[in-house]
Structures are given as C-alpha cells and as structure tokens.
Amino acid sequence: MSHLARARLICLFLLSISFLFLNLSLHNRIQGLKNFFLYLASPSSSLATRMFLQGENLSKNFLLQLHLNEENRQLKEKLKEYVHLDTLSKEIIEENEQLRKILQFRERTKYDFISAQVLVRDTQDWYNSVIIDKGALAGIKKDLPVITLEGDKEGLLGRIIEVSPNASKILLLTDSLSAVVGYVPRSKVDGIVEGQGSKEMRFKYILPEMDLKSGDLIVTSGTGGIFPAGIPIGEIVKFEEKKYAPYKEAILTPQVDFSHLREVLVITE
C-alpha cells in the first residue's frame, strides 16, 4: 500500500470516529466521554486562565509604571521651573529692596551718584577689585569714590581705577595697594587705612598715646583729594602694638560686607 493510500485510509478512519461522535452527540450519549476529555483538559484551561490573567496584570502594572515615570519626569521639570522662578523672585525682591534703599539714600545724602551693578568679580582676586556695568558713557571717570549700602548704613567701597565706555573697574579698599586717610570722629584722630588683600584693613600711623578703642568708627577725612569727608570706612576691632615702633596699628572690619556686593554707588559730585 502506498504512503498516500495509507494516509487516506487513516484519515477516513479518524473521520469516521469523529462522525460517530457527532452522531452520538445527537442522542446525548457522548456526555460521559466528553466529561472524561474535559477532565483531562481542565488543568490546562485553568492554567491558561491564570497565566493570561497574570500577564494582563503584569502589562497593566507595566503601563502604570510607564505612566508614573512620565508623570515623575514632568513633575521634576515643573519643580525645576518653580525653583528657577523662586530664585528669580528672591533676586527681584532683593533688587527691589536695594533700589528702595538707594532711593532713600538719595533723599538724605548731599552727594550726586550713579548707581551701578557689579558685573564681574574674579574669584582669584576677590578682595581686590570688581567690574561694574557703567562706564564713561554714564558719566563715570577715573578716581571717583564708590560706596555701597547695607541696610540703612553706607560704607566706602573703593575708587574707580579704569574706565571703558560701558564698564569700570573699582579698586576695593581691601586691596593691598589701596590707601585712604581715615579719621576717628570720637577722638579726632587721623591715620592711614590700608587694605591687606583680605576682608580686614589696617589703620596705621597712630601715635601710642592717642585715645582709641575697639568699636570706634573710622570715616574718610576728606584730605586725600579723592574721597569726600565723612564716609564711613569701618570699625576698629583690635590693636597691634609693635616693640620699638613709634606707632601702633589697629585692625578694622569694613562698614559694609564686601562679600555680597550687588549694587554700588559711584559719587560724581
């Protein structure tokens, strides 16, 4: 018998059995056999249901995770925006406060001045110089004195040493090349205030018998030709006496904090 004939015979046999089942199903005689097959197949049915339900849950959780990730990313971006806005708002409030102080200062002072903002401050040269955003076009000239405001009090900052059309460089009082004639109003004592390249300054050439004490305010004397008289420079914090030296020296802290310079005032008249 050929391969195909055998296959045909088997097919006919299997079809006959199927047909027999179909006939028996008409008379409900097949139920027992069907139950038997169902008994064999039911584990696979329940297993498949469980597997696919778990798969469905897994895919739902996966989608939820994706959604949460996206939401998290968006919230982080929003948070960044809010942080930026918060910083901006604090800066604006600070600037507003500073401008208000300048306005109040303008009303009570006898000087004419130009307000400017600090543009550049070199980290290597922190206590030596700063660059501001106003220059010759705004009326700034070399050697003009510069002050700054801190709270209700003003303090000397330094003087202009370089001017370009739109920017100027200020030599700070704390620079070691900086020197200004200081005056103690309480005891009417003059001396030279020199910078040291740090946040402290030195009040020099004071005779030992002079009446000075810690906490004394030192202002500009107005005798140097550059700085007008009466601008606060700093306060004495301690004294240094050197053996065999004819003078004593005092250490000053500036009247204003040189670490947080934003707005400065260049005195023109």
Binding site: I17, I30, A41
Partner: protein, 159 residues
Amino acid sequence: MDVKTIFFYFVTLFLSLLLQIGFRNLLSKFTPNFLLLTVVSISLFRGVFVGEFFGFALGLLSDTLSLNPFGSQAFLYTLVGYLVGRQNGKIDADNSVAQVVLVFLVTLFYLFGLFLLITFFSSAEKKLILFPELILNIGFAVPFFWLMKEWFNLWSPRR
C-alpha cells in the same frame, strides 16, 4: 516515531490549547483560531500523517471545551490536517504569501464546514460569521508560522 517526538507533539498540543484559551479569556470575543493555525503549520511542516493525527487529537480536546457538537472540531481538524499535509513539499512553507493564502483558504473551509456541521448536528441556531476570525487568522499567519518554525528548530524532532 520515538518518545521524544511524541512528547514534542504532546507539548505542542498543550501549548496551542493554552494559547487559544488564554487569548479567548483576554480578548473575550474575537480571537485568532490558534488551534487551526497549529494544525495547518504542523501539517505543512511535518506532512500528512502527523497532520491528520495531530488534527484529530487537538480537535477532540477542543470539542470537550466548546459548545459545538462533540466531534465537529475533530472532524474538521482531521480533514484540514490531511488536506494541508498532502501539500507538504509542494508548497514553499517559508513563503509568507503562501502561508497567508493557505490560512485564508483553510479558514474559509473550516468556517463553512463548522457552519454545516452545526446546522446538521445541533439544534442551536448558528450564523455564518466569517470576517473577524478570517482576518485575525490571516493577520497572525506569518508570525505564527515563524514561531512554529522556531519551535520545531528548538526541539528539532525527526522529520
């Protein structure tokens, strides 16, 4: 036929049933007929003997789980196994177009056959609904044939 080959066909039978039930539970209404696709692919890849026996066994199992007259699926899957199995070696089983055309013809034949058998052997009213299953079967034909081929290669049973 050795034990490994018989075991392979048994596992294939079981997995195709799992796939069919699982998809039916998942999609509830319209699903591809994975049992039919399994019979077609196994008959085309393995020939007429395997096709008709596999079709008969899978049909019987399917009959126990369906409300159709008992024996109807066995009858149709056996016939499909025999007819497609005869094409073994005559049709390029790796050709996607051949796979789609074959699945299209076999699904049409199966649905008409099932409709007739239900009409003759059941009192239940049956409408001939061709399109969802026909389209789904065609859509799944190529990936399913690829999957089956990989599955055969995994076991590499004796041809």
